[in-house]
């Protein structure tokens, strides 16, 4: 046992300070208002305070810290994307992830487990090769591997997937990792809080005031705030905020569901994804199998679970791992995903001066948490898009310059 735990034994009172300060009221004005106290919003606040010296910041959250997609995703972290823009961006994120626990002095259970994206058709195999080659070009450790490699890496898997979808090979991405999702929000939140950032939970934004195309303030359920800079980091709710500033984007919202099994002794080390079977699965430190699939098929702004989802996912899980027949599903849930036509995010400055967007996070937002904080804090502080987000700008659709990430992100994770 590490010594640092001994203090809990010796001290009569619980020696831990409060992580997040409770503020009774909002200030009249802030330099920056961040909408959304999820991982992205808190990370941006953290780096604004730490790297840019901007501490007069309010993070407004209509629910509770990390209660949105940060706490609902399946915690997979990877950088094996398809486009150069994507690969560079997520690779920087993975780099930041590695030092986050030390930064925060908080254990995030960041666990590098290796990530297999299974290919069941030669078309899929081509895409895996494409991704592997682009990844390697930017120094990301990915390889297109054959069936034998898969069999060695995941000895328990049924290589024929129940005879329905034989595994031809995979994209193996060694840096693929999982982390304790809530802790990431808490770590960024605590770090921001300690640097003077105010986190206001149960505070909903009801309007954004503009004057001459610039942001002048924010209305909330707890009163008005004056500010000239607003960062919108509310994946799943982005369109509602965009309506407040009359901006239009291609973002459409679909639920994304997931489910978790009862804990069983760890038997699955790597993270497994199958595009054809619409499954991704990893085993958490608690021994639960954390399972996800593709988006719900149509627009919906509610997190209701569906039976079809668990049926389909269970069936495909057993195709890969027939011996799990008796393992029980404990709980299913859903989050709301901001989808974009090219499966890439929409980030940075917008036509509304002072309104910054961190959106379009579809099914791939968690892994990008640190790099979004970095790049968006830079963008907010300087008013210029960070070089790493040039491929994700708001105006790319008007310019017919989409970023073709679809091949890597669909059932991505």
């Amino acid at each position: 046992m590490p010594y640092r735990l001994l203090r809990f034994g010796v001290s009569r009172k619980h020696p831990e300070p409060r992580m997040f300060t409770r503020y009774d009221s909002l200030k009249a004005a802030y330099d920056v208002v961040i909408i959304g106290a999820g991982g992205h919003g808190l990370a941006a606040a953290y780096y604004l305070a730490r790297d840019h010296g901007i501490r007069n910041v309010a993070v407004l959250e209509k629910g509770y810290i990390g209660g949105g997609n940060t706490g609902r995703n399946t915690t997979i972290i990877r950088s094996n994307y398809l486009t150069p823009e994507g690969v560079k961006f997520y690779d920087e994120s993975v780099r930041l992830w590695q030092d986050l626990a030390a930064d925060f002095d908080l254990n995030l259970f960041y666990s590098t487990r290796g990530h297999y994206t299974l290919a069941h058709t030669d078309a899929a195999m081509r895409t895996m090769r494409w991704r592997a080659e682009v990844n390697k070009h930017y120094g990301v450790r990915s390889e297109a591997v054959d069936a034998d490699f898969v069999k060695r890496g995941i000895p328990s898997i049924d290589m024929t997937c129940g005879g329905h979808a034989p595994i031809l090979g995979a994209l193996f991405h060694a840096p693929g990792a999982i982390a304790r999702h809530d802790a990431v929000a808490w770590g960024y939140g605590r770090g921001a809080d300690r640097r003077g950032v105010e986190i206001h939970q149960q505070t909903e934004v009801t309007g954004i005031r503009l004057k001459g195309g610039r942001v002048t303030g924010v209305d909330t359920t707890r009163g008005h705030i004056a500010t000239s800079k607003v960062l919108c980091a509310v994946a799943g709710f982005t369109p509602r905020i965009l309506d407040m500033v009359e901006l239009h984007t291609p973002i459409y919202v679909h639920p994304l569901q997931a489910m978790v099994s009862e804990p069983v002794k760890p038997w699955l080390d790597p993270i497994i994804v199958s595009g054809s079977l619409h499954v991704y699965v990893s085993q958490s430190a608690r021994g639960e199998l954390v399972m996800g699939a593709s988006l719900d098929p149509y627009e919906l702004h509610a997190t209701r679970p569906t039976l079809d989802f668990v049926e389909g996912l269970a069936s495909h899980m057993l195709d890969m791992f027939p011996f799990l027949s008796e393992v029980k599903v404990n709980r299913q849930w859903a989050g709301l995903a901001d989808m974009t036509p090219d499966f890439a995010p929409i980030m940075g400055i917008t036509p509304v001066e002072g309104f910054f967007l961190d959106a379009g996070w579809g099914t791939w937002g968690f892994k990008a948490t640190p790099v979004c904080g970095k790049t968006m804090s830079h963008t907010v502080a300087t008013g210029r898009n960070h070089p790493l987000i040039e491929g994700f700008t708001f105006d790319r659709f008007a310019r017919y310059r989409l970023t073709g990430e679809k091949g890597a992100a669909s059932v991505g994770h």
Binding site: P239, R240, T249, Y298, E299, H301, D338, F397
Partner: protein, 68 residues
């Protein structure tokens, strides 16, 4: 759909890509897969409740904008 011959490039790209992503009561195209029958449904995308359905002809007779 804006008139392709008269509208600006910006208006057209907005038509092609942008959509109203907020929850609300919207017209949507739905297809009954087994019969291939297309119809338009008025659905509350906040509560996933279909409030009314119309045959495709109704669209040509004109439904509000976002029937796309």
């Amino acid at each position: 759909m804006p008139d392709p011959d008269t509208c600006s490039d910006v208006d057209w790209s907005a038509y092609v890509f942008n959509r109203s992503g907020s929850p609300g009561i919207k017209y949507e195209w739905w297809c009954h897969i087994a019969s291939g029958f297309w119809f338009v449904a008025l659905r509350d995308t906040a509560r996933d409740e279909v409030l009314a359905t119309y045959p495709a002809e109704a669209v040509r007779r004109g439904l509000p904008e976002n029937a796309s």
